[in-house]
């Protein structure tokens, strides 16, 4: 009998162990199925450290879980995001990307062609030399954009763009989330801050930073009556090379400049004429403009500027944009420039408002070989002569740049400024920069320098005054349209319906932005208010879209909710012990 009990105990132990092991394995498998609870996983890239964007994506992550999409937020540096964005790989797992919440659509010059064609044209994939990084391909939309880009007739263009916008809303190749604003902060002692803001609104369209170039007359700075000091976190090479620096800080101009709607109006060119076939544009230049070294500005300068930018040896940003459009340039006399174009280009004039197409002086720079321009002393130690309100004077590398009033500035370009000196001081740290304004050392600051999240504190500070200026910049959530799952428009539409745009704007961005689902900024003439924007949060609609995309949400709802890992283990233990005990009990009864 004793041996029998021993055997029984052994069997009891073995059975219990086997059962527990089996149940544990089974429970683990069940757990994995339960823990999944989603149809697929997507990754979204966000720029590291940008708290507002990370919070917005966390909000979206919660909502996407409701329709069975598992969103992983990947923080990365700007270089990595940009590099990955141009890769043709189809998914994040392959080393490409699924979604990106960082890049922004900025419309310099206010022409919709830059959006509809450059950003979304089927021929404009990065592989084909364009900037359609979401790789959307819709032949009808592309054709509409092409047609709208081949005529100068504004009404016809508007109709074509409305049609294009309808297709866009129907497919959502990317989801615009909010329209950006810039926050301008000034010392409360600064007079003329309102004029400055007026000018800021006016030039929001040219991508420039310093409204001082367009005759904003500030009446004296805080530290000295004839001086204004602005602070910047970082002077980017685009701003401080000869193609960008002059214009941004008001010491050079383009042929045209933007008006309040962002459309080109006369600047250095007093008028222009487009030939009947649309392939020739003749500009008449102002005759009373001089470079700040006293040499007159002529058509030679215009020809030299464009030929330099189009020279393949010069690392100028608009090289391709210009060579794509311009066939040749003629200068019949000193104040007439004729551009012969390769194709009808309604986007050409709007392109000319860009700061990087400002004029550079032929009489100084033509002596330098084009490839050596950027490393010449005219770019590294001093600036070439300018022709707008401010003349570049001197700099202390790593500390500041200094401009002085240009006495030659003609009234058509704003006339000489009231103030004598303008400084751009480099302050890398934001908190230190705001402290410098409070201490009266700096007069003005502006976004993206001023963080959105402390706007309430800034408003409450009696030492500061501030204003918010809408920008023609749209911040989108980009989808990789070649992704096996995101290529289905219903999935994109479902995600789009779960973006809480109003909450993002009011709570996360503290009201410093405008909720939008349109790729065109609302200030642009091509923006059609009559077409309803799909910008509301709507869970039911999202579920409908998921059903259309072939994902049955009922399956997901029927699945039991995920449970902690120790539940199946505990259940396994209990069942195992009961089962083992029962088996051993039955075994013991048998001999009797």
């Amino acid at each position: 009998m004793k041996g029998g009990i021993k055997t029984q105990t052994k069997i009891f132990r073995i059975v219990t162990l086997v059962l527990i092991a089996l149940l544990f394995v089974a429970a683990y498998n069940v757990g994995e199925v339960q823990a999944q609870g989603y149809f697929f996983k997507l990754h979204v890239y966000v720029l590291e450290g940008v708290e507002t964007h990370i919070k917005a994506m966390e909000l979206l992550k919660e909502d996407l879980a409701k329709i069975g999409i598992n969103l992983a937020i990947e923080q990365a540096g700007i270089e990595l995001i940009f590099k990955t964005m141009y890769e043709s790989k189809k998914t994040f797992d392959e080393g490409g990307w699924d979604m990106i919440f960082e890049n922004q659509i900025e419309v310099t010059g206010g022409d919709p062609d830059l959006v509809a064609y450059s950003w979304f044209g089927s021929e404009m994939w990065p592989e084909r030399g364009g900037m359609n990084v979401v790789r959307w391909s819709n032949p009808i939309a592309s054709d509409l954009a092409l047609r709208a880009g081949s005529t100068y007739d504004r009404d016809a263009r508007k109709e074509l763009y409305s049609e294009w916008l309808r297709i866009f809303y129907d497919e959502m190749p990317l989801s615009p989330v909010y329209g950006r604003t810039f926050i301008y902060v000034g010392s409360s002692k600064l007079e003329g801050f309102d004029d400055y803001i007026k000018a800021a609104k006016w030039i929001a369209h040219n991508g420039g930073f310093t409204p001082l170039y367009c005759s904003a007359q500030i009446s004296g700075g805080t530290s000295k009556p004839d001086t204004v000091i602005m602070a910047n976190r970082y002077l980017s090479p685009n701003q401080i090379n000869i193609f960008g620096r002059c214009y941004q800080f008001g010491s050079s101009f383009g042929l045209v400049r933007p008006n309040e709607e962002g459309e080109p109006v006369p600047a250095l060119a007093k008028s222009w004429e487009i030939s009947e076939d649309g392939l020739t544009i003749t500009f008449s230049l102002l005759t009373n403009v001089k470079w700040d070294d006293g040499v007159p500005f002529t058509s030679k300068d215009v020809k030299y500027t464009f030929e330099t930018i189009m020279n393949p040896d010069v690392p100028a940003r608009h090289n391709k944009a210009c060579t794509d459009i311009i066939k040749s340039i003629e200068t019949p006399d000193d104040y007439t420039v004729v551009f012969h174009l390769k194709k009808i280009s309604p986007g050409f004039l709007p392109l000319l408002v860009d700061p990087y197409l400002c004029m550079i002086p032929e009489h100084v720079l033509s002596k330098i070989p084009p490839k050596d321009l950027l490393t010449s002393e005219w770019n590294t130690k001093k600036m070439p002569p300018g022709l707008a309100q401010w003349s570049w004077s001197d700099m202390v590398e790593g500390e500041y740049h200094h401009w002085v009033a240009n006495p030659y500035c003609p009234p058509e370009l704003g006339g000489p400024p009231k103030l004598k000196h303008l400084y751009m001081k480099l302050i890398p740290d934001r908190t230190a920069a705001i402290a410098a304004v409070e201490a009266g050392e700096v007069d003005l600051l502006h976004s993206p320098y001023v963080p959105d999240d402390i706007i309430d504190e800034l408003k409450a500070n009696p030492k500061l005054q501030l204003d918010v200026v809408p920008q023609p910049i749209v911040f989108p959530l980009q989808y990789n349209n070649q992704h096996p799952i995101l290529s289905n428009k219903y999935v994109r539409l479902a995600i789009n319906s779960l973006i809480r745009r109003e909450d993002i704007v009011s709570v996360i961005l503290k009201g410093t932005a405008v909720a939008t689902a349109s790729p065109f900024p609302k200030t642009m003439w091509a923006y059609d208010k009559t077409i309803p924007e799909p910008k509301e949060y709507n869970l039911d609609l999202a579920k409908e879209y998921m059903a259309k995309a072939g994902y049955d949400l009922k399956l997901l709802e029927a699945a039991p909710t995920a449970m902690p890992w120790y539940y199946p283990l505990a259940a396994g233990l209990i069942v195992g012990i009961i089962a083992g005990a029962s088996v051993s009990f039955i075994w013991r009864r048998k001999p009797e």
């Binding site: 391709k320 790593g398 001081k425 910049i473």
Partner: protein
């Protein structure tokens, strides 16, 4: 024998230097990102295509294989030319020359003040170990060690510039003003205070204290006291001079270490030095500047180690030339 040792030491340090440049050259290129994106990628205002990127990469020679890029860099470095900054196109030599002076000025003044305060504090603490004075000084040291430079700098700016309005918030010159010695000193006060009070003073004080405690236990101190010498003479003349040896040795190396700390200080105080230059260059993948700064720091550190070794070889008979 001694000459061979010195030659070998110099030879190995040259090898070490080359190895350092190779490793650093590869490391900075392994970091995700590309100077072209950093140079132009920030500005979404301008349409920027893959073709543009390829064209610019070719223009800057970034499409060449790494060994060729390194060889080209090494050749120009040996000629004393570090190339141009990718960003600003200013020659790196010029950038380093201007900024190095500023950083050395800041660092050496900060080091001087931290030694001026730290060493006496260490001595006072060591004379009466575990007394109230020692404990209070120890608490201050820990406070100094653990205080983040970034935070302390901002607090000083808020207090002395914003509320009291006594000192400028940053920079090295008053904009639109004349560059005078007094103006420069005014700009240096806050960064020097932050740099010395947050770490260096505490470090010097603790180092002096432990070194002094050891020396005070030596027999010759006992002899000096037995001779009936004044306690002040014993402490400040006999003990401190011996206790200072390790402190001075470490202080030299500490200058190289402070280079890394200056990155934070220079960012907060908008100070035009090497530290901020380096941070900005790293952010924007400006390889030319990064390599330049690396060579500079490597030369400072390796030279100071080699010089110390060689000096030891002369003064310390325990060093063997093997």
């Amino acid at each position: 024998m001694r000459a061979t040792y010195i030659l070998r030491r110099i030879g190995s340090s040259i090898l070490l230097f080359l190895l350092n440049t190779i490793i650093f050259f590869i490391l900075i290129r392994m970091v995700p990102g590309d100077p072209i994106y950093a140079m132009y990628g920030y500005d979404p205002a301008i349409p920027f295509t893959k073709e543009d990127i390829e064209r610019l990469r070719h223009q800057y020679g970034l499409d060449q294989p790494l060994p060729i890029q390194y060889w080209a860099w090494l050749q120009s470095m040996l000629r004393g030319d570090f190339g141009y900054s990718y960003e600003t196109k200013i020659p790196v030599n010029e950038l380093l020359r201007n900024r190095l002076f500023n950083t050395l000025l800041l660092q050496s003044i900060a080091l001087f003040f931290s030694m001026l305060i730290g060493i006496p504090c260490g001595v006072i603490a060591a004379v009466k170990p575990h007394s109230k004075t020692d404990n209070i000084l120890g608490a201050f040291s820990i406070f100094g060690f653990s205080m983040p430079q970034f935070w302390f700098g901002i607090i000083l700016i808020l207090l002395f510039s914003v509320y009291l309005g006594w000192l400028p918030t940053g920079g090295l010159h008053t904009i639109g003003g004349e560059t005078t010695v007094i103006d420069t000193i005014r700009h240096l006060i806050l960064p020097v205070t932050t740099l010395s009070l947050t770490y260096a003073t505490a470090f010097m004080s603790r180092l002096t204290r432990s070194s002094m405690l050891e020396v005070l236990r030596e027999d010759y101190i006992l002899v000096a006291r037995a001779k009936g010498l004044n306690e002040k003479v014993v402490i400040w003349k006999h003990a401190l001079r011996n206790a200072l040896l390790p402190v001075v040795t470490v202080a030299g190396l500490y200058l190289a270490f402070m280079f890394s700390g200056s990155a934070i200080i220079e960012t907060v105080f908008a100070y035009p030095g090497v530290g901020y230059l380096m941070v900005n260059a790293a952010k924007h993948r400006d390889y030319a500047i990064l390599m330049g700064v690396n060579v500079l720091v490597a030369i400072v550190v390796i030279t100071s180690i080699v010089v110390t070794d060689i000096v030891y070889a002369f003064i310390d008979p325990k060093i063997r030339y093997t």
